[in-house]
């Protein structure tokens, strides 16, 4: 085990050797009508160190530099003030101790510099300009509708997703979140599924069969094929649903979708494809209704 865990264990209030079957742990009194079944196990303590470091990220990153720099000066000052000749050799015990301490000080300074340089650049989200919409195809069974809504709730809660469109069997089955405003009536601009499917973005994704991530949408000329998304959508992920459909996810931050998000979206796409394939076999999808 690392030394870091050694420091950590001292703060754990409960006895780690205790078996769960023995009734030797704290009981939690809960004001519930039936108090027979309640969680009786150990409770994790709040990691104050982790919270403090996360909250004071900038200060912590520069801390080793100050510590190392101050120690460096202290060693030199100590040497000068003690009247020892400023000769950097290892002949005397004092010199050796000084050199080792200097080495440690330099290590700390360099670590602080590394921490500063790997600080993630924070990119601010851009509020999408458009209207809220919630359009789901009326011919879909409840199972599919709840799965689609679960996908939307998950993506909007966990990632920077602000717009979601799903096209399956050449019909737009879902348009939810922020959408571009239609110039005619101020409502959401509907998705022209046929036109989308003729575009290069859709064709490319269908050909590769793999997810496509446009991390900075403004750099891509294919932007014009997504007129239903707010004009200032920052990032887009196109996830194929097998070979019958596509899910298009719009985000409000440049490079806002992480590698983890991309992996999750791939798996969600596969699940959605399986569900849709099962329940939408041979059933022609009707035109969508506005909900």
């Amino acid at each position: 085990m690392e030394a870091g865990t050694f420091l950590h264990l001292h703060a754990i209030p409960w006895n780690p050797k205790r078996k769960a079957s023995l009734p030797n742990f704290r009981r939690f009194v809960r004001a519930s009508s039936n108090s027979q079944a309640r969680y009786r196990g150990p409770k994790p303590y709040r990691n104050l160190v982790a919270d403090w470091v996360s909250n004071n990220d900038d200060t912590v990153r520069t801390f080793p530099i100050f510590v190392g720099g101050a120690s460096l000066l202290a060693v030199l000052f100590n040497r000068a003030a003690s009247g020892i000749a400023p000769v950097a050799d290892a002949s005397s015990s004092q010199s050796r101790a000084d050199l080792l301490t200097l080495g440690l000080a330099v290590t700390n300074i360099l670590t602080g510099l590394v921490w500063l340089t790997i600080r993630p650049k924070s990119i601010s989200p851009v509020n999408p300009q458009g209207v809220e919409c919630r359009i789901i195809s009326s011919s879909l069974p409840d199972v599919v509708v709840s799965e689609l809504l679960w996908v939307w709730e998950s993506l909007s809660a966990v990632t920077c997703c602000r717009s979601l469109v799903a096209v399956y069997d050449s019909i737009c089955i879902l348009q939810i979140g922020m959408a571009a405003e239609s110039p005619n009536d101020g409502e959401a601009l509907p998705v022209d599924a046929a036109k989308l499917m003729q575009g290069s973005l859709f064709q490319g994704v269908m050909k590769s069969g793999a997810q496509s991530y446009l991390a900075n949408l403004s750099l891509y000329p294919g932007r014009s094929e997504l007129p239903f998304f707010p004009k200032n959508t920052q990032a887009v992920i196109l996830q194929p649903l097998g070979d019958r459909g596509i899910v298009i996810i719009g985000g409000d931050t440049i490079r806002g979708f992480t590698t983890s998000d991309q992996a999750w979206i791939t798996f969600i796409g596969e699940k959605l494809d399986a569900t849709l394939g099962k329940y939408v076999i041979n059933n022609p999808l009707a035109v969508q209704d506005r909900v």
Partner: protein
Amino acid sequence: MSGLSTHPLVQLKIRPQFRSKFSRKSVTIYARIDNSQTSQDQQQELNLSVLRFTFGIPGLDESYLPRWIGYGFGSLLLLNHFLGSNSATSPPQLRTEALGLSLAAFSIALPFFGRFLKGATLVDQPALHQGAEQIFVMSENISNTQKEDLAWATYVLLRNTNTIAVLISIQGELCVRGYWSTPDNLSKTQLLDWFKRQIENIGLFDLKETLYFPQISESGLWEMLTKGTRSLLVEPVIQGIGRSTNEMEKTEDFVLLASSIGYAYNDKDRAWIRAVANKFAGSH
């Protein structure tokens, strides 16, 4: 679905583009801003200025270098103190040694604090599966749709997070997958009953909030977890979200994840796990 593989997916690949050597006498540092927008870089969340010392040995985590240097130089300082000179140690040397030992202790602690900084990467540790069996069992008394959902959820949690074992309990019905420490020669039904008894003994009921144990000692936490378990996350599934809160909602459903590495689940992982747990809220 393919076989189980438990490689962690989240690995921010910080490609070292420059190796800097440093000695005690002189330090040369170069820094370049890497702003390229290649398709590979699109996958990186961070925009890095490149300054990274590396030995270039794969699998070796250089972020622990301050700790090794702290141990090494601290030992040398002590050695120097006791064996260095025949005469008594002078006050200036004592001051230097005190400062040096404090710095050594600080260097040893640095990687521990660095782990909590934003953008810190997680280093792989080999999963320890001694005496543990990989299993996949599911209750029979559930609908096919729910079986598919459970199979998919357990699969995706094992693939996409640093998880070696997952257990989902919905209305008393279980789906268990991964590496668990179970008695030998039990049938499927017996295994499920055994897990249910374990859950009852632990008392995993009425969880109001997520339980996260990011650092479990070697002595272990619960009997059913394998010896190598270092992190544990229990996410309650809150049924009936949006219903009136006049009656107390009892939460019996949960998603339990175990990992063989410490601090296995960061905020993003926990958010996704919550999203998967919500899939089973109101599913019956």
